[in-house]
Structure formats: structure tokens, C-alpha cells
Subunit: 190 residues, 2 copies
DNA sequence: CTCGTTTATCAACGTCCGTTGACTTCTAAT
DNA sequence: ATTAGAAGTCAACGGACGTTGATAAACGAG
């Protein structure tokens, strides 16, 4: 026990609040979670949420922050990019404190969540695809890829459609991956 | 001017409230619309909402009611089922008083919306697919179809991703239709 | 121990919302 | 014209929520 806790007490309660917030936001979405809920789950006074994060929007912004570490697609064999992307997102969505699940639940009611979601699925994926497709085509391909990835997320994590929940990760990687592959390297309609 | 208005006055205000409710719920979602908003938009007293629909949940239930008239897929050439389905849903989503847009916006925060959505995309689509696929396979295929259709809807109507919004209906029918076709008649992974 | 600073507690304010009930106005049949 | 019932108006209640400020407790440096 060389060192116990060098962190100031405040940092620990701040972290506890943030963790509670992430879990609640991820499972109920922005509007159905109250500041009092977060504080109660963390065993802390609701006023602390305001003290440390300024407002409910403030703690949501922090809870929804994260780095979408998109793999560098140039390091992946051209014909397995679709599967790689699918596997990557399924992994992210299964980790409950990743921020992306938080956004997913709140994108339809919270402006910030909506904006960040659009940023990810319009800019980040597009940038990643530009490494292997023409810049003009990249955006449209990114849109198609987004539609399938987001639909998978909605069905599996929000709506919890039985057949989509039941399918294994590898089944999904194969099936959805094949679709993404088509969207990324296949022909586009005029 | 043979007949002016045979409908009782009550039916007209009821209809006005319902129309206002549908528009508001479709564009903001359940939680961001208040009973007072609906009444104001219809130029009617908020108390009338309770009088005619019982509660906010009551008017939402009515606003979100609709018949998903799935086309009989047996009447469609086997290799153009995917395109037919895509075209059908795009048409439904573009009509603002269809109920389905209402559900789409509220599925993440309202229990009833969530349940109806699951009903449509798990039961109705599955039933339609059973006409052309084995009953055991039909459910899984319906899940995959749902994931792509819902993702398209989220990107185009909720998130409004530029490339997905920009694509024409026929472009989408071709591209997304091809994916659905694969999910309906293609091979499934083990 | 003392004292200034950080951290936490508590009660309350102001607002917004769904819902209610008392009351007025309108309508139509006798 | 009278009157019963339907339709609409209005103010208010009760509760939940985000947020605040005053106050107390815990802590660390001197």
C-alpha cells in the first residue's frame, strides 16, 4: 500500500457522479433521468451535480464525451473492411461507459446528443472512408454505412428486437459486415 | 352548399386536437410536447385534451395509431421484394400524419411507442416474410430487414444526416432495396 | 490548537406540467 | 321562451424538476 489516494476528495465524488450519470443516461436517455436520480445512485447530494458540472446539460455533455477510436482502415484488407467496422462498433456499444450508448438513447430528444451523433456518423466515418474511396463518393458511402450501423444499434440496444438481440456477435459481423462492404466498395446508384 | 357540417361540434375539435398532436409528436417526440402545446396549436383549451382523450398518454396513443398496410409480398416478383419494401416504407415515412413518424421520434422515451414499434418490426414484417421464407428463418430475416429500414429512417428523419437526406427516393430504393433483397432471399450465416 | 479553504448538507425558490372541478356559454328540442 | 344537456372557459392544485444560497462539517497548513 505505497500510496492510497492522492486524488483530492472532490475528484472522487466527481467521478462517482459521472459514472452514475453515464449508466443512467445510457439506459433511460436524457429526459428520463433527473439530477436527483444521478445523485441518489452515487449517494451524493443533488447540489453537488450543479457544483461540479454547472447544470444537468453540463454533466450530460461530460457523460457523452468520448473518443470514437475508428481503426485505420488502410491497415485492413480491402475486402474485410465491412466486417472490421461492424465488429468495432459492436464492441463499443457493448461497453456501458463508452458514451456512444449514452448518445444513442438521447439523440431524439437532446440537441447536443443529436449534434454529436451527426458529427460521428457524418464526419468521422466519412473521413475514415476517404482513405479508401474518392472524397466525393466517400460522403454518400458513409451515409449508407451509417444507416445500417445505426439501425443495428437501435434494434439491438434500444428496441431490443428479439431476433436481433439473439444473433451472436459473429453472426452479425458476417451479415451486416457484408452489407457494409457493399456500401463501401460496391457500385453506387446514379 | 347542400350540407355544411353535420358533424357534432365536439368531433371537429377532437379532430383538430388530434391533428395538432400528430404534427407536434412527429417533430419533437413525446416528452418535448406538452398538453398546453397541443391545445395552443389547435386554438383550444388544454382542458379539452383531457376531456376528449383522458390524458396525455391517451392522445398520444390515438396519435400514434395507424394501420401499417404492408403490401402482400406474394404479388411481387421474388427478386424485387427488397425494392418494393423500401419504396413502401419511404412513402409511409414521408406522410406527416401517418403515425409511424410519431412512433419513430418517441420510441426511445415512451413505453407505448417502443412496444408498438417492436410489434411492427418484429411481428408484422415477420408475418409478411413468412409468405416467402420458412417460418424459422423468417424471424431472423425480419430482424435484419428491420435493422436496415429503421437505420434509414433514423438517419433520414431524426438525425437528418446530409448524405442520406440528399439521396433521392429512387436512389435509396435501389441501394437499400438490394440490401433488403439479400436479407430476405440470400443465405444466412450459421 | 487555529484558522482559512475546500467539500458537503439542507431547505427552499421558482417554474413548468398534467390534471381537476366549478362555472359560463352555446345549442336544440319542447 | 324555457330548459336540459353538451361544449367550452378559467383558475387553481399538487407534484416534480433544475437550481440556488445559506450554513455546517471536514480538512490541511501554520
Amino acid at each position: 500500500m505505497a500510496e492510497k489516494t492522492r486524488t483530492p476528495k472532490s475528484a472522487r465524488t466527481r467521478a462517482a457522479l459521472l459514472e452514475a450519470a453515464r449508466e443512467l443516461f445510457a439506459e433511460r436517455g436524457y429526459v428520463k433521468v433527473t439530477v436527483r436520480d444521478i445523485a441518489a445512485k452515487a449517494g451524493i447530494d443533488p447540489a453537488m451535480v450543479i457544483r461540479y458540472f454547472g447544470s444537468k446539460d453540463g454533466i450530460f455533455a461530460d457523460a457523452a464525451e468520448f473518443n470514437l477510436e475508428l481503426p485505420d482502415l488502410r491497415g485492413v484488407a480491402r475486402n474485410s473492411i465491412g466486417e472490421a467496422l461492424t465488429r468495432h462498433f459492436l464492441s463499443i456499444w457493448d461497453s456501458p461507459d463508452a458514451g456512444l450508448p449514452v448518445l444513442l438513447r438521447s439523440a431524439s430528444t437532446n440537441e447536443l446528443a443529436n449534434a454529436r451523433m451527426r458529427e460521428i456518423f457524418n464526419k468521422q466515418i466519412r473521413t475514415a472512408l476517404e482513405a479508401i474511396a474518392g472524397p466525393d463518393e466517400a460522403e454518400q458511402r458513409a451515409g449508407l454505412v451509417s444507416s445500417q450501423l445505426l439501425g443495428l444499434a437501435v434494434c439491438r440496444y434500444v428496441l431490443k428486437l428479439p431476433p436481433v438481440v439473439r444473433m451472436s456477435k459473429e453472426q452479425l459481423v458476417k451479415t451486416i459486415g457484408k452489407t457494409l462492404q457493399q456500401y463501401i466498395t460496391g457500385r453506387l446508384p446514379r
